[in-house]
């Protein structure tokens, strides 16, 4: 055997120890196994959804209850004034989507006051695709990931009363005046009878970039062109069933209105409405022709990540955007590895 000097032995072991301490320490730190406990991580949200709604394997952690649609967008070319996105070229672009209700319980009974979601993916799965997750609200309730998380926990239903804990809710309102103000705006816009007559909005501001390179802050909304079939009272899936029955009778459609922001309008706070006199551009019509049950390979398996954007659309610095992208990704990873069970809305089983 080699005769090792004590010095060289200590030197080698010391160097290896120092290297491993730095190397594995950096790995542990990046993983947040050590170091200061971060305020919020993806896992915080995943745990929060589980705490409030329970675990529902295979389903989205939020907007768990939904139904799949597809159709097309017919552009009139007007949107090109604001953005060079392929969607705004005159002509037709296919779209897949999903109507949903907010909350993590995939079997929840439909209620008019529950926020309604519409996820859309245009040109899926091409490189020019554009995904968005819209709500039937005039403004968003929270302006920060922390606000969303606090409200999620505060809204947890107390099993004894069937309602959120009033003390928790008032503590939340105390801490989040921006959400109180947003709720007041939302109260002025009560929900419509159904999905088909709901206006679905981006809420968050994005920057549209046109061929000349001009960046414009834009919020957009899909405005319905039809009334909704009234929901049948006393049924669990009343809102979804009404949509299914309506779409059996023919397509449903929405006009896409792009609202142009002014310099004084907030681009980073989705709780603040823009003044109603802002200029809008009617960019075309979204027509949904088919409705189907969530199934492998359809929009059930699409993550409506609002940061999947085409050339010509850029994110703003709204802190909700990166957070939504991150938490949606965590939800997607979790649910794609879980066993699946049938969705609550079974299109074929809806009575005529």
């Amino acid at each position: 055997m080699t005769q090792l000097s004590r010095r060289s032995l200590l030197l080698g072991i010391g160097a290896v120890g120092a290297f491993l301490a730095i190397d594995l320490g950096a790995v542990a730190y990046a993983n947040k196994w050590i170091g200061p406990t971060a305020a919020l991580t993806r896992q915080t949200f995943m745990d929060g959804f589980r705490k409030v709604f329970g675990l529902h394997p295979g389903f989205r952690r939020n907007h768990a209850k939904g139904v799949v649609v597809n159709g097309y967008f017919e552009s009139n070319g007007s949107g090109r004034e604001l953005s060079k996105a392929a969607l705004f070229k005159p002509g037709r672009t296919p779209v897949i989507g999903r109507f949903s209700l907010s909350g993590g319980n995939p079997m929840v009974a439909d209620a008019p006051a529950t926020a309604r979601g519409l996820g859309l993916a245009f040109s899926f799965p091409d490189a020019t695709q554009w995904r968005m997750a819209l709500l039937n609200l005039p403004v968003f309730v929270d302006h920060s990931p922390q606000g969303f998380y606090d409200r999620l926990l505060a809204s947890k239903t107390d099993p004894a009363t069937g309602k959120p804990d009033p003390a928790a809710m008032s503590a939340f309102n105390e801490a989040h005046p921006e959400s109180v103000a947003a709720m007041a705006v939302i109260k002025q816009h009560p929900p419509t009878p159904g999905f088909a007559d709901s206006t679905f909005s981006s809420l968050i501001t994005f920057f549209f970039v046109n061929d000349a390179g001009v960046r414009t802050p834009v919020r957009w909304a899909f405005v319905p062109t039809q009334a909704a079939l009234p929901p049948l009272p006393g049924t669990t899936n009343s809102l979804f069933d009404a949509l299914v029955r309506q779409m059996r009778g023919g397509p449903v459609s929405w006009r896409l209105l792009l609202t142009v922001g002014q310099p004084e309008d907030s681009v980073t706070d989705a709780t603040l409405a823009w003044p109603s006199d802002r200029r809008t551009v009617d960019a075309g019509v979204l027509t949904l022709t088919n409705i189907e049950t969530e199934a492998p390979g359809n929009a059930r398996d699409v993550n409506f990540d609002p940061l999947v954007l085409p050339d010509g659309i850029e994110p703003s610095d709204d802190p909700l955007l990166s957070a939504r992208s991150a938490v949606y990704a965590a939800s997607y990873r979790a649910r794609t590895g879980e066993p699946k069970s049938p969705s609550a809305v079974q299109v074929d089983e809806v009575a005529p």
Binding site: R42, P125, L321
Partner: protein, 220 residues
């Protein structure tokens, strides 16, 4: 022809470039999946650097066949020699597979694969949520495998270089200190002067080591 004392300059540059990039990639990857506010920007950097690593590793694999490998020090026995060869193969396999799996995993979600801000790459896997999950889990598994294999690789080189004093590191290093002279510039691209070569020989030459450690060594 005898084996060279060091890897060619291009190989050493590729090696250290890979080392810096892969270490950064592992940390960015671990950090981004815990991040809320920086997730999107870290993800963009991670995907772009991932493609850069893939290109560099492909170049390295091709380059690996273009030159002879410097002889391992005499301190490396028969069994360790097998380990060295095996671990090199494992590292190459991991470094090739990891970016490809990352690329395929994004492809399987149906998302566009965009790097360098706006360069769209083709999708290399079908849209399939179950396939995504398998690839996603594999991506994490390979990341931790890389942490372990790289830690072992560096530890082994440090022990050889500092404890056995066999000049293992100099095969891949840029500069050697000349006794009584100031150290060479690390990025000196010119061939090492004669004094440095003799110093290198002293590190890798069994006779010199024998002198230093005062023992007789078997010669191959």
């Amino acid at each position: 022809m005898t084996a060279p004392a060091r890897y060619p300059l291009r190989t050493r540059i590729l090696h250290w470039l890979t080392a810096v990039l892969v270490f950064s990639m592992l940390l960015i990857g671990f950090a981004m999946v815990n991040s809320i506010g920086s997730y999107e920007s870290l993800r963009a950097i991670h995907m772009t650097l991932g493609i850069v690593v893939l290109v560099i590793v492909v170049v390295r694999v091709a380059n690996r066949f273009t030159h002879r490998v410097p002889k391992l020090p005499e301190t490396v026995g028969w069994l360790e020699h097998k380990l060295v060869v095996g671990s090199e193969l494992v590292l190459y396999a991991l470094l090739l597979a990891q970016p490809l799996i990352g690329w395929a995993m994004v492809s399987a979600t149906g998302k566009p694969v965009v790097v360098f801000g706006s360069l769209p790459l083709p999708r290399i896997a079908p849209f399939n949520a179950e396939l995504y999950f398998v690839l996603r889990q594999t991506h994490s598994l390979l990341a931790y495998s890389l942490v372990v294999v790289i830690a072992a690789h560096v530890s082994a080189v440090l022990l050889h270089t500092l404890t056995l004093r066999d000049g293992m590191l100099s095969r891949m290093a840029f500069a050697l200190r000349r006794p009584g002279a100031q150290s060479d510039s690390a990025d000196l691209p010119t061939p090492a002067p004669a004094t440095v070569q003799s110093a290198m020989r002293e590190h890798t030459n069994a006779t010199a080591n024998t002198r230093r450690y005062g023992r007789t060594r078997r010669h191959r």
